[in-house]
């Protein structure tokens, strides 16, 4: 068969699951999937990563919830969502019935809540993985974010693994706002994570100089978008160097195929598109196509060969 016409081998693996494309959505940036389906076919993607879901319904924070910043934005949604029961009743069936590969992101305020979420997801068929968002305040520990505490991070992943069973891959999503990211990564991998999602947003603030107060009602917010890409690349590079066997789902400011390639060369086995979708609803699909071109131009015949390529020299 003529090389030129051979489909590019875009496959990538997290745990036991093989995804046909390495481009994913980022949690909290693709709604329930439905909203984007007007703009492109969701099954073109590796998977939709759903907005982090909690045990109970959550109203989220008051508005204003967003502020644009130079080449980035702050958000303070506060994990608004319908709670796991309604989510499993409405959102998941819609995705599964349309053959959209789905990774469910979960968030808890206690270790026990993560256990509950994992138990409820264990029996759901058709899922492709669980992303564990541990960048949530731990109400049992002075609201300290789980992902900033090596022991709590580990504990969360352990109970999720125990309650979920061994079938579905667990991807632990880490925060870059820590002194020693690599040791947190080691901890969650030891605890049973099959992959790591890097990075969640950076904690930031914008002040409204006319109102003389923080612009966001929640005061601080998460910084995302191209502004943080260098931090994402660094985080992925460091963690891939330390744990080369563990697949990384990279994210942080990817707005083009070239940006995605930067994360992949740093060590990402998949790339999630977040904030870019707000500026361009078709971004995930566009980036997938641009990535394919960028890889072919550089002589790659399969995606897997590109992962971590910047570590070789």
């Amino acid at each position: 068969m003529n090389e030129t016409f051979k489909a590019f081998d875009f496959r990538t693996r997290f745990g036991s699951i093989t995804f046909p494309s390495p481009i994913f959505t980022a949690s909290g940036c693709a709604g329930s999937g439905k909203e984007l389906s007007q703009f492109f076919s969701l099954d073109e993607l590796g998977a939709i990563v759903t907005k982090s879901i909690a045990v109970k319904p959550r109203s989220g924070r008051a508005t204003p919830r967003m502020a644009e910043t130079p080449s980035g934005m702050l958000n303070s949604i506060g994990l608004q969502g319908p709670g796991i029961d309604q989510f499993l009743e409405i959102d998941i069936p819609w995705l599964i019935s349309r053959n959209v590969r789905t990774i469910v992101s979960i968030s808890g305020e206690t270790v026990e809540e993560y256990a509950t979420l994992a138990r409820k997801l264990r029996s759901v068929s058709g899922l492709s993985g669980i992303e564990v968002n541990i960048s949530c305040p731990n109400v049992e520990n002075r609201g300290m974010v789980f992902a900033c505490d090596p022991i709590a991070s580990r504990e969360v992943i352990q109970v999720v693994r125990r309650n979920l069973g061994n079938d579905l891959p667990i991807i632990a999503k880490l925060s870059p706002d820590v002194t020693d990211l690599v040791s947190i990564a080691h901890g969650v991998v030891d605890a049973g994570a099959n992959g790591l999602a890097l990075i969640n947003t950076l904690l930031g603030m914008v002040i409204d100089i006319d109102a003389r107060r923080p612009k966001l009602a929640g005061k601080t917010g998460g910084l995302s978008g191209p502004a943080i890409r260098p931090v994402a690349v660094r985080a992925i590079y460091q963690v891939h160097a330390a744990l080369p066997q563990i697949p990384i789902l990279g994210m942080g400011g990817v707005a083009s195929g070239r940006d995605a390639l930067e994360l992949i060369f740093a060590g990402a086995s998949g790339v999630s598109i977040g904030t870019a979708t707000f500026g361009d609803p078709g971004a995930p699909l566009r980036i997938k196509r641009e990535l394919e071109i960028a890889l072919k131009e550089r002589g790659f015949s399969s995606f897997a060969d590109a992962v971590g390529a910047a570590h070789e020299s």
Partner: protein, 284 residues
């Protein structure tokens, strides 16, 4: 598979005209068949800047009028206030420049099945979507009275051709530089009584909508208003644009104003909940 944003498309479109009108720019875009799908109250999300820009989010603008006939095919028109970097960039576009849009987005004003006496209340550029609404109401046999208010005369948007479909227009300015000195709500009660208004449509700053809603409640009138919250995506995926809305089930939810709005039922809004989540909101 398409139950949200069902008519929205992303397109590069041409600027057909850009004229300064008072404090605003009146901008016409050649959008082709998107015009047919557009209803009064819908909005458009526009990319600002170029490949080098540090502004990564779209800006939302109400669609002033949509027309599917005419020399250039379908068009939509906007009334833009040069506010910050992005809107000023848009106001600086010249004829034949291209801009990237996603439209039509959001809910539209509900049109009564029978002719009614409608009072349309607009503040500043918020007047814009009311003219398209007036045309539809008029063509369906309704009486249309309009109140347009602003801080100063230059910020009232009241184009001549817009008045075709309006029975009466009342202007208010806070400094009295044109029309009646005061706010739109100062003149509403008398006009409601005079014109026997049955429904109120409003668009403008949130504080004005709140005040308009109080009058609507006082007179026990239906009130549809187009709200304005900061929007990061405009298409329902980011959850930044929420406002507290009471649902049919009586529960208050933080609802997306880009999908469940911008046009909402004034009586469903939990007003005055600035920078707070109202007590009793689901999941608070």
């Amino acid at each position: 598979m398409k139950t949200i944003n069902p008519k929205a498309q992303q397109r590069d479109v041409e600027v057909l005209s850009n004229k300064k009108v008072g404090a605003y720019h009146h901008i016409v875009l050649a959008v082709g068949d998107l015009a047919i799908a557009t209803r009064p109250g819908n909005f458009v999300a526009i990319s600002v800047g170029d490949a080098m820009s540090n502004t990564i989010l779209r800006r939302a603008f109400a669609i002033y009028r949509a027309s599917d006939r005419g020399q250039y095919g379908g068009t939509i028109e906007l009334v833009v206030a040069p506010h910050g970097l992005g809107s000023r960039w848009l106001c600086a576009r010249q004829i034949h420049d291209r801009v990237n849009i996603v439209a039509p987005l959001g809910t539209s004003f509900g049109i009564p099945t029978e002719p009614v006496n409608a009072l349309l209340v607009g503040g500043g550029y918020g007047a814009a979507p009311l003219f398209g609404l007036a045309e539809v109401l008029k063509s369906q046999g309704s009486r249309v009275d309009m109140i347009l208010g602003a801080s100063v005369a230059g910020k009232i948007y009241a184009p001549l051709e817009g008045k075709r479909s309006v029975n009466t227009t009342t202007l208010t300015t806070e400094d009295g530089s044109t029309g009646i000195k005061g706010r739109v709500t100062d003149v509403m009660p008398a006009l409601i009584e005079k014109h026997k208004s049955e429904i109120i449509y409003s668009c403008g700053p949130m504080a004005m909508l709140n005040a308009v809603n109080q009058i609507a409640e006082q007179f026990q009138l239906m009130h549809q208003c187009a709200v304005e919250e900061s929007m990061a995506c405009g298409i329902g995926v980011c959850m930044t644009c929420v406002i507290p809305l009471k649902g049919d089930d009586g529960l208050v939810r933080m609802s997306r104003s880009c999908i469940d709005g911008p046009v909402v039922d004034g009586s469903a809004v939990i007003w005055g909940s600035d920078r707070t989540v109202p007590e009793g909101t689901l999941g608070k």
